[in-house]
Every structure is written in structure tokens, then in C-alpha cells.
């Protein structure tokens, strides 16, 4: 057994926080809608995930729920999906925020959004992302700054997605969140100021020892040598959810793995991908 050091006492990272609670009855109605109404989910942002992150739009600039690639959208309209989800409409109306885009996101068992930054392709105006968890489980959590944060159902959560972060649902069942991208205005600032620090759902990840990383790298190399490249890459990318890893280190490990196997093209490909994922292009 290897020994791992534990980071300093927990504080919730500044980039995430639990905001106001939502009435339990409204949560139950929204959950019912989310689990029964949506069909034809879309898998988009394929470079950022391993295939199990599905979305549909509720507010966008085309009204098409399958149009899910976000862009600046100052006057969004409700999609045909939102019209079938009155409880979700009720919540969005009640918050009174200036929405840019609103999506329903489903993360299946065994699915990941890899370490990345968001909003890099959008104009430089202030905006914030809110999450409204509707269905979750103990193996579904967000990681940023070396801390895992389980966004519990029953509250609105804020997230600053311009810092490196990733999301996983290790074992299921499905996780479903509303994702509200909002332009900053007085209402949003008032909403955010009303938040409270709630570290109950947060837990620091252990710092990996050199032995831990060597073992993981050896396993990944073993997989790649047998021809299981994707499993090797996934195994290293998943370290972001198990250990407190410095920014981009999981990508560096993949680069190193391929370099050690003298697969220079693959090493270059992952070096490039690291820059894309972390918004360094």
C-alpha cells in the first residue's frame, strides 16, 4: 500500500458555491420532467468527454432543443422542449436572471467531462454559470482545485467555469443538472451575493505520491502496449478525479506515456489537446 499526503483543511474553492435552496416540491416536479420528457439527447463537445455526456437546450437562439453548442445569445427563446417542462419554466422565471443559454445535461454512469476550461470561445463579457442538480449520486462530482464537490440536489450552485475543472459520474445512476449560463447584471450579482459557503459536499483529494503516479503510468503503458490506447488514456485522465493534480498534469502523463513508447505523433497530439482543453490556444 502506498502512502498519500492529504492537503490542508477543507475550504470550498472560491469558484464554486451553494446558493439558495429550491422548494422540495418544485425540485420533485422538475426531476419528474427531466426523467420523463426529454428524448433525442445530443452528444456534443466530443473532445471534452468520453461519450456519456448528453445535453438538450431549453433556452437558446434557435428554439431547437438539439442546438446545444453554446454561443453568445443575448435574447434567448424557449425551445420546444422547455414548453413541455412547466416546472423548469417556473424555476427559470422565478430566478429573474438574464440568461444566455440554458441546457439540461445528463451524465451517464462511467462518464467524464475531462479537465478543461469553458467560455474561451465567447466574447469577453462577464457571465456566470449556475447548476441546478435534479438527480445525482455519491460518485458524481465536480473537481476543481484538487477538491471534489458533490453538488447536492435541492440548491442552486454557482460555478466559475473559466478555471480548470472536470466532472465525473463514476458508477451511476444518471446525473441530471440544469445548466444556466447567465450574463452578469444586478439581479445576478444579488443572487450570487446571497450565497453561502457550504463545504458539506466538498472533500479534498489526496496528493498522489510518486509511487502512485509510477503505478498508474505502468498500468497505462501496459494497456497501450497491448493495443488498448483508449483505456490507457482514460485511466490517466481519470486520475484528475482521484488525486489533487496540478493543472494539466494528466495530459502531461499521457504525453510522457506515448513518448516512452516512442510514439511521437501521439505525444504531439496530446500536447496539442492539452492546450485546447485548457484554453491555451
Amino acid at each position: 500500500m502506498s502512502v498519500t499526503a492529504t492537503p490542508a483543511p477543507l475550504t470550498l474553492p472560491a469558484q464554486v458555491g451553494a446558493l439558495r435552496p429550491i422548494a422540495a416540491t418544485l425540485v420533485e416536479r422538475m426531476r419528474h420532467e427531466a426523467m420523463t420528457v426529454p428524448t433525442d439527447w445530443v452528444i456534443e463537445y466530443g473532445d471534452y468527454q468520453n461519450g456519456g455526456w448528453h445535453t438538450l437546450s431549453l433556452l437558446n437562439d434557435t428554439g431547437d432543443p438539439r442546438d446545444v453548442m453554446i454561443r453568445d445569445c443575448p435574447t434567448p427563446t424557449g425551445t420546444s422542449l422547455l414548453r413541455q417542462m412547466p416546472a423548469v419554466s417556473e424555476l427559470l422565471d422565478s430566478l429573474g436572471l438574464k440568461y444566455m443559454w440554458v441546457r439540461l445535461a445528463r451524465l451517464d454512469a462511467g462518464s467524464f467531462l475531462w479537465e478543461h476550461r469553458d467560455y474561451g470561445e465567447l466574447s469577453a463579457v462577464e457571465r456566470h454559470r449556475l447548476h441546478v442538480p435534479l438527480v445525482s449520486n455519491s460518485s458524481a462530482y465536480l473537481v476543481l482545485g484538487g477538491t471534489k464537490v458533490h453538488m447536492g440536489v435541492g440548491r442552486v450552485w454557482r460555478l466559475t467555469p473559466t478555471v480548470p475543472h472536470g466532472v465525473c459520474n463514476l458508477f451511476g445512476p444518471q446525473r441530471m443538472h440544469l445548466m444556466l449560463d447567465c450574463y452578469a447584471d444586478e439581479a445576478l450579482h444579488a443572487f450570487l451575493d446571497g450565497g453561502e459557503c457550504d463545504p458539506a459536499g466538498a472533500q479534498p483529494l489526496p496528493v498522489p505520491s510518486p509511487t502512485n503516479l509510477d503505478e498508474q503510468l505502468a498500468t497505462a503503458r501496459g494497456l497501450a502496449e497491448l493495443g488498448y490506447d483508449q483505456a490507457a488514456e482514460t485511466g490517466l485522465l481519470e486520475l484528475f478525479y482521484r488525486y489533487a493534480m496540478p493543472e494539466g498534469q494528466v495530459y502531461d502523463l499521457i504525453v510522457n506515456m506515448y513518448a516512452s513508447l516512442h510514439r511521437d505523433e501521439d505525444a504531439v497530439r496530446w500536447r496539442t489537446k492539452k492546450n485546447t482543453m485548457l484554453g491555451r490556444n
Binding site: A109, G110, N137, S138, S139, L170, F171, G172, P173, Q174, T219, A220, G222, L223, E225, L226, G227, Y228, D229, Q230, A231, T234, G235, E238
Partner: protein, 288 residues
């Protein structure tokens, strides 16, 4: 036209594990070390139902066999959604390889995938002892014997199991018994309940008396019951073995709950490490 419509109906009603079967074959066959992949059990016999597990024979190039076994858990977790490491199957017949059982989350249900890993040079021996159908055959490969394989398989078979491995065994057996209960397979359920109780006993011994020289169920009160924690574990084990030999669904829920209570007491690190996986397991088995 009628045929096409019927095919559409058939596709809509295809058992969920057939999608998992396709995915598993696609994943496993990516390796140049894989010589052949067969399904056996009910899939090969034509008796599969919607609860059937996927039962594979995986023939691996002999020189790569040990490397393959070492990364099998990582492969199954990363590519097929295994929620726990593979249980080293002690029920499967010894046919010259190593058996592992995985619990895999797929399309909202928990499925069982059995891998019988065999050196390619021994594939014929295995095929002679079981009904199997090929689902992947590598082209232009010849089996290469490797002297290291025997030592590797024997040392793996003889290695004592850790508490974490025995906890995995308990959870896998729980899933297997649930299937027997659903199907009304009372005799197999009886055998697997005994296996589950034995796994719990073995877990207690591995955690609290790892150097035990006593055989099986002998000397448990003297060896384990000498301390309060040991007595508490034995009290739970006693409650387990007094449960129905052929359980109902509720009986099984109670038994798994007791087994987990024993594990929390005797091997808390293993339970903590598997915590979210156990939460998911409870969800899929609809346990309280």
C-alpha cells in the same frame, strides 16, 4: 416490407445485454495479443434471457498473458464501466486459465461479465470442455507456448485473497443470487447463498486472522471470538447462516446488509475505498 417491419420490432425488443456484448467484443478485440474471443454459457447454448450474464472465453497470446491479466481490471473499468475490480472466480471449473467476474453498469442496469482468460496455446483444451461460440478470431496468428504462464496461473490461484477481494466476492455473489431469486432457480440460489456466507467468513478471517492455520469454518470462536470486534463479526455471521437457505428478495437484502456490516467492522478501509461503488450497487439492486 413485412420482414423489415418485423426486424424493426425485433431490434426494439433486443435484450439490453446484446448492446453490451457488441461493445465488449469491440473493446476486447482491439489488442493484437487477443487470439480469439468466444461466448459460452447460456448465450452459446441459445438459452439466454434478459438477466443472463455475458460469459467470455478470452484467448491471449501466451507471452502476453500475464500482462493482460495485470491490466484487465483497468481495461474493464475504463472501457466497459466495471464498478468494482474483477472477482477472481472460484466457482468456475479449472480449465487451465483464470476466471474473473465483473459487475458493469450499462444503460441503467447492472450486468455481469465473466471473463475466462486462457493462454492461447490452451484454448483447444478449454473448448473441449465447454459449449462455446466464436465472436472474434484473429487472423494469421499462431499460438506460442511460454514457460512463464504455468507459474503465473498457479501463483495467482494460490495467492490468499485480501479483504477487498473478498468484499468484491460478496457483492458479486449478491448480484448472482438476486438473479437466481428472480428466475426461481432455488437449487443454484442455495449453493450461492452458501458461497456468500463462506465469503463473509473468509473476509472475517482475512481481516482479523490473516495468518490463520485453521481450516475453513474450524476454530472460529477460539480464534476470531477472542476480542469484542471478533465476537461482533461472528454474531453477524451467525445471523447470516441462520437465514433462509433459499432466500426471497427481502432475505437477500437483509443478508447483503449484514455482510456489509461485517465488512465495515472488520475491513473498514475496503468499504471506504469502495464507498461510491457500494452506493451504486445498492441502487442497481434496489437495496435499502
Amino acid at each position: 416490407m413485412t420482414t423489415a417491419l418485423l426486424e424493426t420490432v425485433a431490434a426494439a425488443n433486443r435484450p439490453r445485454q446484446f448492446g453490451l456484448l457488441e461493445k465488449a467484443v469491440d473493446v476486447l478485440s482491439h489488442s493484437r495479443a487477443l487470439h480469439a474471443l468466444y461466448v459460452r454459457g447460456s448465450l452459446a447454448a441459445g438459452t439466454a434471457d434478459r438477466l443472463s450474464d455475458l460469459d467470455f472465453i478470452v484467448a491471449v497470446d501466451d507471452p502476453e498473458f500475464a500482462s493482460f491479466v495485470r491490466v484487465a481490471d483497468a481495461l474493464m473499468a475504463a472501457e466497459l464501466g466495471a464498478i468494482l475490480p474483477g472477482w477472481h472466480d472460484t466457482i468456475v471449473a479449472r480449465m487451465g486459465g483464470l476466471g474473473y467476474v465483473y459487475l458493469v453498469a450499462y444503460e441503467g442496469k447492472l450486468h455481469q461479465i465473466d471473463l475466462y482468460l486462457v493462454p492461447a496455446s490452451r484454448l483447444d483444451t478449454v473448448l473441449a470442455r465447454t459449449t462455446a461460440m466464436p465472436v472474434y478470431l484473429a487472423e494469421d496468428v499462431a499460438a506460442r507456448a511460454h514457460s512463464h504462464v504455468d507459474w503465473f496461473i498457479n501463483s495467482t490461484l494460490e495467492r490468499p485473497h485480501t479483504p477487498a477481494e473478498l468484499l468484491t466476492e460478496v457483492l458479486v455473489l449478491g448480484q448472482m443470487i438476486r438473479k437466481r431469486v428472480s428466475r426461481g432457480q432455488r437449487f443454484i440460489a442455495y449453493a450461492e447463498v452458501f458461497a456468500l456466507n463462506t465469503a463473509v467468513k473468509n473476509l472475517i478471517k482475512a481481516a482479523l486472522a490473516p495468518g490463520s492455520t485453521f481450516y475453513g469454518w474450524y476454530q472460529l470462536p477460539e480464534e476470531i471470538g477472542a476480542t469484542p470486534i471478533g465476537r461482533a463479526c461472528l454474531a453477524d455471521l451467525d445471523a447470516l447462516i441462520r437465514g433462509p437457505a433459499v432466500p426471497t428478495g427481502d432475505d437477500l437484502s437483509t443478508a447483503i446488509g449484514r455482510a456489509l456490516a461485517v465488512a465495515r467492522r472488520a475491513a473498514p478501509d475496503a468499504v471506504t475505498a469502495f464507498g461510491p461503488a457500494i452506493d451504486a450497487y445498492r441502487h442497481y439492486l434496489d437495496l435499502p
